[in-house]
């Protein structure tokens, strides 16, 4: 902008701002039961689609692929396979201190994978840890001592 009244060295202003809106997400009956099973029975449940017959884990009200309501509840095994993962090695605001492992695990009996933290991995050498996890290792569900009906009530550990 060329304007004789505009000094060349005008200080560029930044105005601080912060969005902080509160929400209360209704988990609904299906996820509420899933969390209740975690908390009360320390087991992971899926719901089965009557059309494609997949057992969806975590439990879903409806199958996104078939667009029909799921028909039954079934527990899955405590053990499973770590399909894909990443080792978060840098610090980000609002996240746990690095390094930590996130992965998707197909629990025995399930047809889909569930995301959670993978703990108990030796992360002293990130590259060595990464290479060792590429083999799709078996993992076991471990529940926290304190359960509150949230997805963080459990995590996975290598067997």
């Amino acid at each position: 902008m060329k304007d004789v009244h505009m000094p060349n060295d005008v200080e560029l202003i930044t105005i601080p701002g912060n969005w902080n809106f509160d929400y209360r997400y209704f988990a609904g009956e299906t996820a509420s039961r899933f969390f209740a099973e975690l908390k009360n029975s320390r087991r992971i449940m899926g719901t089965r689609c009557g059309k494609c017959r997949r057992l969806l884990v975590p439990a879903r009200t409806f199958c996104e692929a078939c667009y029909v309501e799921t028909v039954s509840w079934e527990p899955v095994g405590e053990e499973g396979t770590l399909e894909v993962f990443t080792i978060v090695a840098a610090a980000f605001p609002g996240m746990p201190p690095p390094p930590f492992v996130i992965g998707y695990v197909t629990l025995d009996g399930a047809d889909t994978s569930i995301a959670n933290f993978i703990k108990g991995v030796d992360l002293s050498d990130i590259h060595a840890a990464g290479k060792s996890l590429l083999s799709r290792p078996r993992v076991r569900t471990v529940f926290s001592a304190e359960v509150q009906g949230r997805i963080t009530d459990f995590h996975f550990e290598l067997i």
Binding site: Y23, G28, S32, E64
Partner: protein, 359 residues
């Protein structure tokens, strides 16, 4: 160039408040499923999904990532407009006019009980010039009303009469929220009963190329100046322009419209729209609103309100009236032609108008 005609096959509306039995995606799935059932349609035949959703209303920073599959987007052509739901309907119709789709789901929602839409509206104001004043969306309605009052003076009992008519119509509507929800703090000169009835709303419609008794007659879009202070808040020119454009598309005049379903956040927008459209003489908006049987039959924002579902909810009301399925709000003589008008934040900067007609 002849666009292919677009027909409406069915509509479903869910209205509630804080029902913890259902997640947002559960609500969307149930409502779209209901709309398919009303339309005798199956999701397998749907080849287009168009949704209107807003990230901050939904509390999901990229809402459609989590919510679109609940509307049936799985391995389908899907578009999310970050606009009022009537824009989604217009866009879905364009897909069909273009021959790009044959059967489309249109869905829009807003779940006021999960978040804080009043607070969210504050961050839509310019951070340098407007936001520091602490304005919210509803304050624009108050300013609009005060501008109208300054121009035409106190309308006497007609404001109260319009409010009473609105609330009576909402009371009759099968698609109104009947439990207490949340009250907004309304700025002077707005009165509490003129404000919106916050609600959890999902609206779904099925539209397509196959003939049905109700078709789209015309579509119009118009845009106003960005800053509320620069606009003619009383005249609402974008509303009039969008309606004119929709009427041009249908090659008929406004006299041919038997029913108007107009979205406004408060009674003020709903009533002043009648002056903008030329249905009410200048200064007589509230009088006309109170007496007109063919305006906002379902009670407008007094029945249930949450951005960005409202334009689609108005279109669904038009559809119900035209197909004789409106229930207790059904006009004695089913209308032949109806117009739905939707608007976007802030203070209705853009308007969309859709004319529906019996085929």
């Amino acid at each position: 160039m002849n666009a292919r005609p677009v027909y409406l096959h069915g509509a479903a509306t869910s209205v509630g408040w804080g029902d913890s039995r259902r997640s947002l995606t559960d609500m969307i799935f149930a409502t779209v499923t209901d709309a398919l059932r009303q339309s005798d349609a199956h999701m397998d035949a749907v080849d287009s999904v168009v949704i209107a959703a807003h990230d901050l209303i939904d509390g999901r920073s990229l809402s459609s990532m989590v919510t679109a599959p609940a509307a049936g987007s799985y391995l389908k052509d899907e578009m999310r407009v970050d606009e009022d739901g009537l824009v989604a309907a217009s866009f879905a119709a364009a897909r069909i006019e273009a021959g790009e789709a044959r059967l489309s789901v249109v869905a829009a929602w807003g779940r006021a009980s999960e978040g804080a839409p009043d607070s969210v509206s504050r961050v839509g104001f310019d951070p340098a010039f407007e936001k520091p004043l602490g304005l919210q969306e509803l304050d624009i309605s108050a300013v609009r009303l005060s501008a109208w009052l300054a121009r035409y003076g106190d309308p006497g009992d007609s404001r109260a009469a319009a409010t009473a008519a609105r609330s009576m119509r909402a009371g009759r509507s099968p698609r109104a929220l009947r439990v207490p929800s949340r009250d907004s703090v309304l700025a002077y000169p707005l009165r509490q009963a003129e404000g919106p009835k916050w609600a959890d709303i999902v609206v779904a419609m099925i539209i397509g190329a196959a003939p049905s008794p109700v078709r789209v007659g015309g579509v119009g879009h118009a845009t106003d100046l960005p800053r509320p202070g620069e606009r003619d808040l009383v005249g609402m020119p974008a509303l009039r322009q969008s309606a004119e454009m929709a009427l041009r598309g249908s090659a008929r005049g406004i006299d041919s419209i038997d029913l108007f379903e107009i979205d406004g956040m408060t009674l003020v927008e709903e009533a002043l729209a009648l002056e903008s459209l030329g249905l009410a003489a200048p200064g007589h908006a509230f009088e006309h609103y109170a007496l007109a049987e063919n305006v906002n039959r379902a009670g407008g924002s007094a029945a249930a309100w949450c951005y960005p579902a409202m334009g689609l909810m108005r279109l669904a009301e038009c559809f119900h009236q035209l197909s004789g399925t409106a229930g207790a709000t059904q006009l004695d003589t089913a209308p032949r032609r109806a117009m739905a008008i939707g608007s976007s934040p802030l203070g209705a900067q853009t308007h969309t108008a859709v004319v529906l007609e019996r085929a």
